[in-house]
């Protein structure tokens, strides 16, 4: 329907869309919020948040950073972000994390 989508190139270069330091501090703040939940729910809460609120390029940059060693990222965030790849697609939701 929309000619635009196919006619235009994907985007510039290989650099992450946001400076990586900025992404890491945002991700760690999200990790801090979900920290009090039991581990499965914690990971799912982080996944839902990243999936629903982050531009896909931000998610990809975070995952690439995790693949390269994840230095400075809280382990909670790493667990949650990895679910973006491994889990089934599911609808975004508000409220407590659904394990």
């Amino acid at each position: 329907m929309n000619m635009l989508r196919d006619a235009l190139p994907a985007g510039p270069g290989e650099d992450p869309v946001l400076a990586i330091d900025r992404l890491l501090s945002m991700a760690n703040q999200i990790g801090d919020f979900f920290a009090p939940y039991p581990s499965q729910r914690r990971a799912e809460g982080i996944r839902n948040h990243l999936r629903t609120y982050w531009d896909p390029r931000m998610r990809e940059a975070l995952l690439a950073y995790i693949d390269a060693g994840a230095g400075g990222l809280s382990p909670h965030v790493v667990e949650g972000a990895r679910l973006l790849r491994s889990s089934e697609p599911r609808k975004g939701y508000y409220g407590p994390p659904k394990a």
Binding site: L4, R5, F33, G95
Partner: protein, 732 residues
Amino acid sequence: MANPIKPDRSVVTTCAYCGVGCNFKAETHQGRIVRMTPWKDGKANHGHSCIKGRFAFDYYNHADRIRKPMIRDSISEVWHEVTWEQAFDFAAQRFRRIQSRYGRQAIGGVSSSRCTNEEIFLTQKLVRAVFGNNNIDNCARICHSPTQFGLSATVGWGAASQHFDSILQADVIMVVGANPTEGHPVFGSLLKRRVRQGAKLIVLDPRQTETVRSPHVRADVHLALRPGTNVAVLDSIAHVVVREKLYNEAFVRERCEWEEFEHWAELVGSDRYAPEAIGPVAGLDPADIRRAARLYASGPNSAIYYGLGVTEHSQGSTGVMCLGNLSLACGMLGREGVGVNPLRGQGNVQGGSCLGSWPHVFSGYRFVTDDEVRGSFEAEWGVALDAEPGLRLPNMFDAALTGHFRGMFIMGEDPVQSDPNQGHTIAAMSEMECVVVQDLFLNETARYAHVFLPGSSSLEKDGTFTGAERRVNRVRKVVEPLAGLQDWEIVVGLMNAMGYKCHYDHAGQILDEIARLSPAYRGLSFELLDRVGSAQWPCDEHAPEGTEVLHRERFPRANGRGTFMLTEYVPTRERVTDQHPLLLTTGRILSQYNVGTQTRRTANSRWHSEDILEISAEDAAARGIKDGDMAWLSSRFGATQLRARISQRVNPGTVYTTFHHAETRVNVVTSDLSDWATNCPEYKVTAVEVALVKPAGFDEYGRSLDRHAGLAAPDLSTATTASHPGRQEVHA
């Protein structure tokens, strides 16, 4: 004294100055507005008004108003006046050129809460359907985005549960991080009326605001907490509610998710949230925290009203959740006299939030990732839409600095002045290849723009606003648009120039489109509003004239139940240090509005001609500052200067100022930290130092500051910002 000019025409319309949404009778004489009289049938204001709505209307006709579209090739050139068509074509070609070079995602837009629902809705349509991405945000990003997030998570909808008049049935009123007598004066008067009738008042605010103490009104408990400790204190209040079993178990069992309540009770009930533990952290007497908790829980009707003092923190969304949790636990929802109510700053912030000017949700807070919802928009608009969330406003600026974001449509906003960490914003703006600003005046942001589209004020257009109580109110055209087009017509012009054909005969047709695509607005139309005056959403077949009180029988969540979020206190990373030992918090004053673009151009400036730094006598004395001295205010982000006033309203360790005047440039100083969930900036907490300005020499940058040429900054190495990107771009 009778008005010497006899008006020849009058129109009833809605004020744009704050989230109260007062109705006024606007009277004109030979096509010029001569008087604004509060309208007695206005359901939000019942004939009351404040000095902004009543008197500050002259801006619309101010000599500074831009009346012709303008373009320029680069921001170093002078503007050229052009026709509307030339301006639309210029902007369209630039936007398309950027997309062909850097990708579809390289441009975006931001809408304004000064604009109507119809204009906000059209702006997201421009971005989603014409730009072909979801890089659309609105100014609630920097004020009440945590409200949407925090209330959606707990009670289901990111909006006030009550109508304003509900407060007249409240027995206990808890005001958190808001100062309604200055920010929402007509509602503030209603609140004071109820307190004079005997309602108890709890205020959480670092300052002794007028809400805390004014003639015949005095807060029963004032928790003058240290900036940045909201979540700790609210969790501590919850701790008392849980430990002393003051919660409403029947309500929670019947209406809420009991298991989530138990998780929450375990967290806030732990010893680390005992008032004795939190008191020292927040600078409070533990006994006052206990008193506040017992008072709120005792009701029988307790109502919460809150503002940006809750949201504009790195834990802003968590703070809103605390309020949702607390009201659910105590059963203070679903009837008159109770509730959780955000006080919205601008006239149409609630509308801006409702109508899908967000990178992640369509109107009605429904996710862009939801195929079914997206399909309904695709069917109506005839194009495929992006299924992924776009960039938020702060992230657009971040992405401009990495080269991924190059063009922006800015409707009625002034991010250079209003957004935090001004140096960062300016550096980002300077990187862009096409910035289109649509505004009444050449604002600060227009310095970095390539296209200027002269917008229309709310007195020059038709549409609707949604007030803080969810009330959808008619905005009616009082005078003809000075530059010829209403704002929605400008957006339509740009859409067509970019190759997307669309046409509306009048703004009412846009509201009809909104109603078709947004469940809570389904029953709204100009016809209904002209008949009943105004209506609070949800307005649909079940509530054909709207809904005053939400959550009466169920919460708008899948299972109909309210729920609890775990709200651990995580201190902000912004800390006082030896170099920056004070905490700056910011706010507003009655006579001025936001960044002052409008009110500064009226006689209201005689009441408030400059931003003032409030400082305690103790902190002032330690720095040799006397009342009325010019003070140098610095943080790790930047520095500015303004006049100091010794004040008993702030505790030692805290300083306060407003942000109404561009020349003060308070947001040069404010922090770049933001809310974990929404990136709403942490305006309310910045570590600063204050020093006396000595009247000799030049400032540390070798230039004079604009308003006080010749006054020099003291030698403060801590104020250095020379290495900051964009520093040299600041226009003095």
